[in-house]
């Protein structure tokens, strides 16, 4: 029931997203026909291209055509590449998904490890170091971090490729760049929730029963610490995507975030609409997933 209602709610949201994107891309200055034709083209060529693309039609009728096609799964053709937007988006998405999952894994593993370590050693030097790590992770610009990683690990040490795509080695630096951002936040959250849990009665009971510290930590404390971490992951998805744009650009990663940026620069309207719509779907799906995962981890959370 809950799931069905949530799924129904998605429809108006997507509707609004398409409308806002449709109108706003047409408000940014820059003529797609001129971009396609090139600077040197004559006014006649530009006009012919504009007509060919249907850009001379009224905005509303353009939107209606777009909606009608979109419902049938047709997002139109990219102005710039002449290929189907749906194909372009699906072709690019796996690279971003791969990067996002790896980045997320780095965030969660590093964040929870550091956070737990810091909670267990509360007040120590390591604890303070964690705080610095957390603040650094959040405030470091991805662009800067990416270039530092490239200089250290690619140019100086020559351990990993500086950019490109294809092997697992290519994945390491972008995943770290994307992941360290979330890791700081997660470390701090983990620290406070582990500390919180360690104060609970049942932990004291477990300890008094003689259970080893590691078991308490892994079985009870960490499991409870997961809830806020997941919440934060859900909330940070948007920031995550915007960081992905920079990460993909710096590392030459052929993902959908970079595609969106290129599409905007080229004024490739159908491609912008397609990528944004797709990212909206991913965003919504991820949030839904977060909500469902809650109830798996914490049986007390139930949705009516």
């Amino acid at each position: 029931m809950y799931l069905a209602r949530r799924l129904l709610e998605i429809i108006p949201v997507l509707f609004a997203v398409t409308f806002i994107v449709f109108v706003s891309v047409r408000l940014i200055p820059g003529d797609p026909a001129r971009t396609i034709a090139g600077l040197e083209a004559s006014a006649e060529t530009v006009r012919a291209i504009r007509e060919d693309l249907g850009l001379d039609q009224p905005l509303l009728s353009q939107y209606v055509v777009f909606l009608k096609n979109a419902i049938g799964g047709d997002l139109g053709e990219s102005y710039y590449y002449g290929t189907e937007v749906v194909d372009e988006v699906l072709r690019r998405f796996p690279a971003t998904l791969l990067l996002a999952i790896s980045g997320l894994a780095v965030s969660v593993l590093v964040g929870m490890f550091v956070g737990t370590l810091s909670a267990v050693n509360k007040g120590s030097l390591m604890d303070r170091g964690t705080l610095i790590f957390a603040i650094g992770g959040i405030s470091m610009p991805s662009f800067w971090l990416a270039l530092i990683l490239i200089i250290i690990f690619a140019v100086k040490l020559q351990w990993l490729p500086a950019g490109g795509y294809g092997t697992w080695q290519h994945l390491v630096l972008p995943a770290i760049t994307l992941g360290l951002f979330g890791a700081g936040t997660i470390a701090r959250l983990t620290r406070s929730s582990v500390l919180e849990v360690l104060r609970q009665d049942y932990v004291r009971t477990a300890r008094s029963k003689g259970l080893p510290g590691q078991v308490i930590l892994l079985k009870h404390a960490l499991k409870n610490a997961l809830i806020p971490v997941i919440t934060v992951l859900g909330l940070q998805l948007g920031a995550f995507l915007s960081r992905a744009v920079v990460t993909e650009t710096v590392f030459g990663w052929p993902g959908i975030a970079r595609l969106t940026v290129t599409a905007v620069l080229d004024r490739d309207f159908p491609l912008i609409q397609g990528t944004v719509l797709w990212l909206a779907i991913v965003f919504i799906a991820a949030n839904l997933l977060v909500d469902l995962v809650y109830s798996l981890i914490d049986p007390r959370i139930r949705y009516a």
Binding site: T45, G166, T249, F251, P254
Partner: protein, 503 residues
């Protein structure tokens, strides 16, 4: 979902190529299409140079020389061009190159429903293409058009296989078939494009087994990939990066001045810029030589014509030397003092080599002279051309203009002829009857000598009238591993790798 899984898996495993036999090139932007009859963007066209040939090709000095055509004859009245084709040439798909194939390729380009930036080169001028015999093809023009040979040498004139036209139609961009030294192998959009040697190439097999192009948008990453030997060639290196790379013995740099004239269009439709003396004063008030030397070094010249050297028809006239005294005199003659004049100076940022830096330097010098300058930088070129060409214009706008056929016609007509004044792309609003007449006459002259004389005179007029602040031909810096040889950068900025090889 299953398809996604498979894609994800292949993404993880990856595909490697034997590196020794592959020339690895990094591009900064997405390639649009490999169909030469659609767009003409520089990077895609540069890739197409390896796949296709035209009837003629461009040399490094901007001259059109035989490629698929061995020789040609031009009729007395200048409207018929008859080409003798090179015998024994085949397309990658086995189709023979003959007059029929050339006709088919051009008919597709000239088709009524085709309105692309590539077709715009030929549609207004070519009336018909006919087969004379198997290896002879004749072009009939609407009217004499002297720059026709240079136009044929432009990548828009690349010849496409007739079989491929039939088989792929509008999908040709993903399945390009030409007669060039490399044939299409694989294209993963946004990631890489691979070309393989075509063994039956008419000039003998190409030196490399394959060429791999990869797209890396971030300049710093491209430099890092070159330094770590993960790439062989990178384009459009900034002068700063070049200085650093010059320290590395494994890397060599080439600075090529191109046919792109960089200038600031002065809006002649506004006071006080409608006065020639004010425009000349602006030219004398800026130390262009100093800016060039600081940014690019001695070897890049100052513009002494609206055309860059390397464009057919270029004629050196004179440069405006830095002379604040003269500038003040000119202003006084026109009845102004520097402090009376405020200048809205606009520039794109990131479109041309060091554009924003140059605009800042110019603004600073004009300020130092006493003008009141408001500099506005545009980070997004689409916005710049829309705001600048459609809605409004500043008083001075930084632009780079490259006649893509490397012909005086392209460098003068569109950007300075009165027909285009105040419209795209004559942004100065320059409309000089004498200049207009010379350009119109020159395009239909059959004597090369007369035509060059007319262009030379036209260039004199432009220098005298000073509708621009004249800057320099845009230099492009290409960096490559020291073991890479015979890389050609045409004045049209195209990277041609037909003969490139590596030790």
């Amino acid at each position: 979902m299953k398809r996604l899984g498979i894609l994800l898996l292949t993404a993880l495993i990856g595909i490697g190529l034997a590196q020794e036999d592959t020339l690895r090139v990094l591009l900064s932007s997405e390639l649009t299409t490999l169909d030469p009859q659609i767009t003409t963007d520089t990077d895609s066209a540069a890739v197409r140079y390896q796949i296709y040939n035209g009837l003629l090709k461009m040399t490094e000095s901007g001259e059109a020389v035989p490629d698929l055509a061995e020789s040609w004859e031009i009729s007395e009245d200048g409207t018929q061009y008859t080409f003798q084709l090179r015998p024994g040439v085949t397309f990658h798909d086995g189709a023979p190159l003959n007059a029929q194939a050339v006709k088919a390729s051009f008919e597709r380009l000239l088709a009524e429903d085709r309105d692309t930036s590539a077709s715009a080169y030929f549609k207004p001028i070519v009336e018909s293409v006919e087969v004379v015999d198997d290896l002879t093809v004749r072009f009939t023009l609407n009217e004499p058009f002297a720059p026709f040979l240079n136009t044929l040498a432009h990548p828009a004139g690349h010849i496409v296989s007739p079989l491929a036209i039939e088989q792929y139609g509008e999908e040709l961009g993903m399945h390009p078939v030409g007669t060039g030294p490399y044939q299409f192998s694989e294209w993963v959009r946004g990631e890489r494009l691979v070309l393989e040697r075509f063994d039956d190439y008419f000039e003998g097999p190409a030196p490399m087994a394959a060429i791999e192009y990869r797209i890396i948008p971030e300049a710093a990453t491209r430099v890092a990939l070159l330094e770590t030997d993960e790439a062989d060639i990178i384009l459009r290196v900034t002068p700063d990066e070049a200085k650093r790379l010059a320290q590395n013995p494994e890397i060599k740099l080439e600075t090529t001045p191109t046919a792109r004239a960089m200038f600031m269009a002065i809006n002649m439709t506004r006071e006080p810029f409608d006065d020639k003396r004010v425009r000349q004063a602006i030219n004398h008030a800026v130390n262009v030589r100093e800016i060039i030397t600081a940014l690019f070094g001695e070897e890049v010249p100052q513009l002494d014509s609206p055309l860059a050297p390397g464009v057919f028809g270029y004629n050196p006239t004179r440069t405006y030397e830095f002379d604040p005294e003269r500038a003040r005199e000119l202003l006084a003659e026109a009845g102004y003092e520097a402090g009376d004049i405020s200048i809205d100076l606009w520039s794109p940022s990131g479109r041309y080599v060091q554009d924003a830096t140059v605009a800042q330097a110019v603004a600073q010098q004009l300020e130092a002279f006493g003008f009141d300058v408001n500099l506005r930088l545009f980070g997004d070129f689409s916005e710049y051309i829309e705001v600048a060409f459609v809605e409004d214009r500043g008083d001075m706008m930084l632009l780079g203009w490259s006649p893509s056929t490397l012909e005086a016609e392209g460098g003068l007509y569109q950007i300075l002829h009165g027909d285009h004044a105040n419209k795209f792309a004559n942004n100065s609003g320059f409309d000089n009857p004498e200049f207009n007449r010379l350009i119109e006459e020159a395009r239909s002259m059959t004597s090369e000598e007369d035509r060059l004389a007319a262009y030379a005179q036209a260039q004199e007029i432009v220098m005298e009238e000073a509708p621009w602040l004249f800057l320099y031909p845009q230099p492009v810096i290409t960096a490559m591993r020291a073991n890479v040889h015979d890389v050609v950068i045409l004045p049209s900025e195209h990277l041609v790798l037909r003969e490139a090889w590596k030790e």
